[in-house]
């Protein structure tokens, strides 16, 4: 530490993202503060979102004249040595990564929706403006509602929640509905395992989501918006509430948004631990204060949504991409991607992976590039056996299928789905019969119970897989399972029951050997009784 106290404080960035905090970002911040306090120096500490290179967290960045130099993963105990090595001047150290913007993992990506995440202080409104914030909203407010909808339609933006429905078409339906009372609902009930992009966006760039929802309000004529965040994301709830408060003070929300006649206000609602509330109609029921039971469609929410009124329901990433579309134009966005999957997708690499995190890139990248080139294979160093794509309702794919391009239609044609872009990697210790059983068990625990195929089918599915693995009337039970899967696919009200067969069938198709002989537990030990305990308090009504 050679700096003189009179020199201006050095700017240091440490993430406040909950994933970074989960591995010690707060402790590193405290250690930094303590060290400079002891040396009678000042630091300009900025807590940002995460860059999404999660294996490098806690990632400490130092502003230098050449740009932001990264160090990671930093442990609190590393701090004295880092400072001694000249951290504040970007000095050499084994943890020094170089200029963060030039790290190949990041530089190869095309950060559109995630452009500011990890870069700015999420709750600094001026920082948001300095980095191009509100450009999309200002552009939109100069256009008519119909023109905004047309722009979104032309961009080819599709719902990022999983279903991939064109956002512009949904908006047009709401715009064309008569009536004064319409709603914008953002689905932030990101319950799929392997997905965390919504959380990171809300924690890392909350004003962007507010801006997107406000543009949606202008586009369809809504005055009231709800942001439904799952209770498992307490940090996102706190950040969004704080950002909404700041936006109100700044006149970005309220009776006259940015001084225009647009009136729009936004409320955060917190879920209560029900996976099914990520399904849009179930989420609407929950927002109305009811059990999160799925509604039959039609009527679609665009026509009869929240409290029976026309409602836009979009995922966080969809709404957070809208400002970019408006700011840069539909054409620029449309030029990215392949076939009917336009723009970028925010892929999330998780599970047993060496370099997990956020990869935002144009559609069309292959699964192999994501898992092997970005992900670097498994964290355990063992061979990759499978990747589950698209959450708990997505297919398990073997490495021989990894050359599939990530595009909605190509995946659908292969009996899989891109979903919300989550990719969970497993090494060769995984027992695919246990994973198939888990898919059914999860469905049984989280089914809303409204339709029989999902409620009963999932319980029967668990039993049937147990019998197959125990080699009880194997062929007959395989036929029963197949029949059950078909019934659940065709007869369920929503994607919960309708897609649970996807992981089950893909496991059976690609890994049939795992279904013979005693199943292994999730920890890898072979036992007959797969130790997935029935948990007291789990919702089981009507499942027996």
């Amino acid at each position: 530490m050679t700096r003189h106290p009179a020199q201006p404080p050095v700017r240091i960035y440490v993430p406040r993202d909950s994933a970074a905090r989960s591995v010690g970002a707060d402790e590193v911040t405290a250690a930094l503060q303590q060290a400079v306090d002891g040396a009678d120096m000042a630091l300009d500490l900025v807590r940002t979102g995460s860059r999404g290179m999660l294996w490098l967290e806690p990632l400490v960045e130092v502003a230098t004249e050449h740009g932001r130099i990264g160090y990671g993963p930093v442990a609190p105990d590393d701090v004295p040595a880092l400072l001694a090595a000249g951290l504040l001047d970007g000095g050499e150290h084994p943890l020094r990564l170089g200029l963060v913007d030039e790290l190949p993992w990041l530089a190869r990506q095309n950060r559109v929706t995630f452009g500011r995440v990890g870069v700015i202080d999420p709750l600094d409104a001026d920082d948001y403006l300095r980095h191009g914030g509100l450009t999309g909203l200002r552009t939109a407010l100069k256009l008519t509602s119909a023109d905004v909808v047309a722009e979104v339609t032309d961009s080819g933006l599709r719902g990022r929640g999983g279903a991939g429905f064109p956002a512009g078409i949904k908006w047009k339906t709401v715009l064309d509905c008569p009536g004064e009372l319409k709603f914008i609902c953002c689905n932030a009930d990101e319950g799929d395992s392997g997905t965390f992009a919504d959380r990171m966006l809300m924690e890392g760039d909350p004003f962007l989501l507010i801006e997107g929802m406000t543009i949606a309000a202008h586009a369809v004529g809504a005055r009231e918006g709800y942001l439904y965040i799952r209770s498992e994301y307490p940090d996102a709830v706190v950040t969004m509430r704080a950002a909404i408060e700041i936006a109100r003070e700044r006149g970005w929300l309220g009776t006259s948004v940015l001084g225009t006649p647009l009136a729009f206000d936004l409320h955060v609602r917190v879920g209560a631990g029900a996976y099914i509330c990520g399904e849009e109609t179930s989420m609407l029921e929950s927002l109305e204060g009811k059990r999160g039971m799925v509604r039959a469609k039609p009527p679609i929410p665009a026509i009869e949504g929240l409290f029976g009124k026309p409602t836009v329901v979009n995922n966080v990433l969809t709404l957070a991409t809208v400002p970019v579309v408006l700011a840069q134009g539909a054409k620029a966005y449309q030029e990215l991607g392949v076939e009917r999957s336009r723009g970028t997708q925010v892929f999330q690499l998780g599970g047993n992976i060496a370099r997990g995190g956020i990869v935002e890139t144009a559609f069309g990248i292959t699964l192999r590039e994501l898992v092997e080139e970005y992900g670097g294979g498994t964290r355990s160093g063992r061979p990759v056996r499978t990747a589950q794509v698209g959450g708990p309702l997505g297919a398990y794919l073997p490495p021989s299928s990894f050359d599939l391009p990530m595009d909605y239609e190509a995946f659908a044609a292969a009996g899989a789905m891109v979903g919300h872009g989550g990719i969970v990697v497993f090494d060769d210790t995984v027992d695919m019969a246990a994973q198939a059983r888990f898919a059914m068990e999860f469905c049984a625990a989280e089914s809303c119970g409204k339709c029989t195929p999902c409620r009963i089918g999932s319980v029967r599915g668990v039993e049937t897989i147990d019998r197959i693995v125990a080699d009880e009337n194997r062929d007959e039970n395989l036929a029963v399972l197949d029949d059950l899967c078909e019934l659940m696919t065709d007869g369920s009200l929503c994607a919960m029951g309708g897609l649970t067969p996807l992981p089950v069938r893909s496991a059976l198709t690609h890994f049939p050997d795992d279904f013979t002989g005693p199943a292994r537990s999730l920890s890898g030990a072979r036992t007959v009784d797969i130790p997935i305990p029935r948990v007291p308090g789990a919702r089981t009504e009507g499942t027996a």
């Binding site: 989960s22 999660l54 799929d192 392997g194 498992e232 917190v270 997990g356 708990p392 969970v424």
Partner: protein, 176 residues
């Protein structure tokens, strides 16, 4: 939150909370969260009061309370430890954490006899690249191994400087 004998009755708490949410549309969930934040759980006695406040049937209110995993019928222990058992954490050895919980004489979904800790399963905490993930009193922990989980369960984790291991309000007094 500590309830002493001089504290307001369940009915008073529920009516106060309901009044504060009067202007909200579909306010039952926010009200239930607020009641649980006040009382540590949603007691049975709250149901008829809520029904009266919101002009719903008791069956409607009970149906909502029992639908959502978050609402507790009984107060939790002094610490609540939630172990993620979703796929991404399974791939990183969440199964071993669950086995460890059971070997420690605890069970998922239950509170230790001495009231020190409630252990629950959760499906996804959004920390899928840094699993296995465990949440303690709302605070997320990544890359948790069995040794670390033991410290978190017993409140002896010293790798954190933010008071994890103590209750929210820093006290060690049981909630009820």
């Amino acid at each position: 939150m500590k309830i002493r004998t001089s504290d307001p009755t369940v009915e008073q708490v529920v009516r106060t909370v309901a009044a504060a949410h009067r202007e909200q549309r579909g306010a039952l969930l926010p009200i239930l969260h607020a009641v649980q934040a006040e009382l540590g759980h949603v007691p049975k006695e709250a149901v008829p009061v809520l029904a009266d406040e919101l002009n719903l049937s008791r069956a409607d209110v009970h149906g909502v309370v029992s639908f959502y995993h978050d609402f507790r019928a009984e107060p939790a222990g002094r610490r609540t430890v939630r172990v993620c058992r979703a796929e991404a954490c399974q791939a990183q050895g969440a199964g071993r954490l669950v086995e460890y919980v059971e070997q420690s004489g605890l069970a998922l979904g239950q509170t230790a006899q001495d009231g020190s800790v409630t252990v629950e399963q959760v499906f996804c905490l959004g920390n899928c690249a840094l699993g296995p993930a465990v949440e303690v009193d709302g605070r997320l922990h990544g890359r948790v191994d069995t040794e670390r989980l033991g410290a978190l369960l017993h409140g002896t984790d010293r790798t954190r400087r933010d008071g994890v291991g103590a209750t929210h309000d820093g006290s060690e007094v049981p909630r009820s």
